[in-house]
Point group: C2
Chain length 335, copies 2
Amino acid sequence: MHITVLAGGVGGARFVRGLRHHLDTMGEAYDPATGSGSTVTVIGNTGDDITIAGLRVCPDLDTLLYTLGSAVHEEQGWGRADEAFRAQQELDALEVGPSWFALGDRDLGTHVARSHWLAEGVPLSQVTARLARRWGLTQAGIALLPATDEPIETHVVLSADPGGRPGEDPGERAVHFQQWWIQMQAQAPALRFVVAGLARATPGPGVLEAIRKADVVLLPPSNPVVSIGIITSIPGVRDALRGTRAPVVGVSPIIGGAPVRGHADACLSALGVPVTAAGVAGLYRDFLNGWLVDSADGGEDYGALPMRARDLHMRDVGSAGEIAQAAIALAEVVR
Amino acid sequence: MHITVLAGGVGGARFVRGLRHHLDTMGEAYDPATGSGSTVTVIGNTGDDITIAGLRVCPDLDTLLYTLGSAVHEEQGWGRADEAFRAQQELDALEVGPSWFALGDRDLGTHVARSHWLAEGVPLSQVTARLARRWGLTQAGIALLPATDEPIETHVVLSADPGGRPGEDPGERAVHFQQWWIQMQAQAPALRFVVAGLARATPGPGVLEAIRKADVVLLPPSNPVVSIGIITSIPGVRDALRGTRAPVVGVSPIIGGAPVRGHADACLSALGVPVTAAGVAGLYRDFLNGWLVDSADGGEDYGALPMRARDLHMRDVGSAGEIAQAAIALAEVVR
């Protein structure tokens, strides 16, 4: 079985880890020697990438790598375990880079290597493949593909004067998504999101094929606006999702009217979309074939969309695996 | 009093630290508010700079900064105190950069900042000035000037086949100075040194003025070939040393026929220069006005060169300061 997943950071990474665990315990482990067993292709969001002190940082790809490579800071959900911040202290003393983005020393090694390779002309997809080998993803039957090789960056348009009328040009300002997300904790209301570089971006090598040739396409409980929404905005991706013969099944990131983690509520509000499982399903309506929601949201109106309700809290690898199993089961039903 | 020093790494840094200590205890401390007191201008060697994983590393400038900023790893003589190597572990795992050059995490912060600024178009001299402020040099009346803003890199030509005849082109190979120095521990005999970029290099801003307008020019016990020898090879520097009205006084890096530290013996041998205090003085003969040697070397033949002999072991800041004091005293005699 070939499963393709569109993923953001923490939620996507934990879902894929659970999915791989589920497949492995079902006798579907990948054998790198023979190529037998099930494979998972993860299309990772690059819309929240950022250049810090001249180093290219890919937060979602790194969270996927570290989580699937058993190197993640488990409680935090991102970054490396056993991390320290000696280099960051020096950058702070020199006032290099934003004060609100702290790079751990181990993490910095990744960014230095990636930036070095990119500067040598190696595309991000090949850089990511090298990192995927380092973290054992390749050997485990997981291919990690950046959504695009071209640099794209999400910016958030805010009202410069909270007392002014939204939409007035002189009263608007834009900040990098990471600044809004980390420093402002998404508290400043977003008027809209602008993705620099999106118009000229093309899907990364293998991305469209992974969607077209999958047996199942899964959407984990990632942010529907700034993670999955960015991936599906890259020209060609949404058409591939609409056209694939594989069932496309999603897992709601909203439970009981609130995001499980992160600021998806603030992102949905910027789009005027209700912060509900049904609201998110509406964003995916042109390509979604099945929708897994939490038991708390089973009573909402999903129209004709095939739906199942169950506990969607990913408490550990096992519970994440059970959610992945339920998503695959729903895909078989709607196929 | 304005003192200009041409310096390499560890020996130069310890000498300048002693010099500053001596001046401060003599009531010559620099007052940044009024600009009164003595000033020290250090012209730092950049010939052993190297690009590691895309980051520009300036070993001698950094050793000067860390030593004068009380942040150096004291026993080691270079690098930062309280250092760790988490980022390097990651670079090792990814096989990025040479295995024989380990970057500490705090140190890496310096290199990331410098590389970022250089990429922005800031010249190395201004980059170094920013670092000098961060480490308190500026406030202490020490200006640190890179010998040149242009990138130069020393390479060592070796015999590819130790059994072959030296000088044969097919039998030669060149390695970066740092590889020869660190990985090979200067054990492979150097045929000659080649400094890439030297022909088009020009003295950094303020370098010639610092030599011409100094009250005293001092040469610390730095490597006479690959540190001071590189600085004096930059077009214009040697002429400035010959032409300055200031007495030029040097401190021998050779004691009893051996370098105090490092591989100056291997460097001198490559030039066919005797590994003696008199041999080094010969390299400086066209501009040297006074020569401070160790008591062990007082019996050598220095010709007409004014010479003093004393203990030249820099055991601590105090003893380094006494050596600097002796050098200044000799400068007053030969003025």
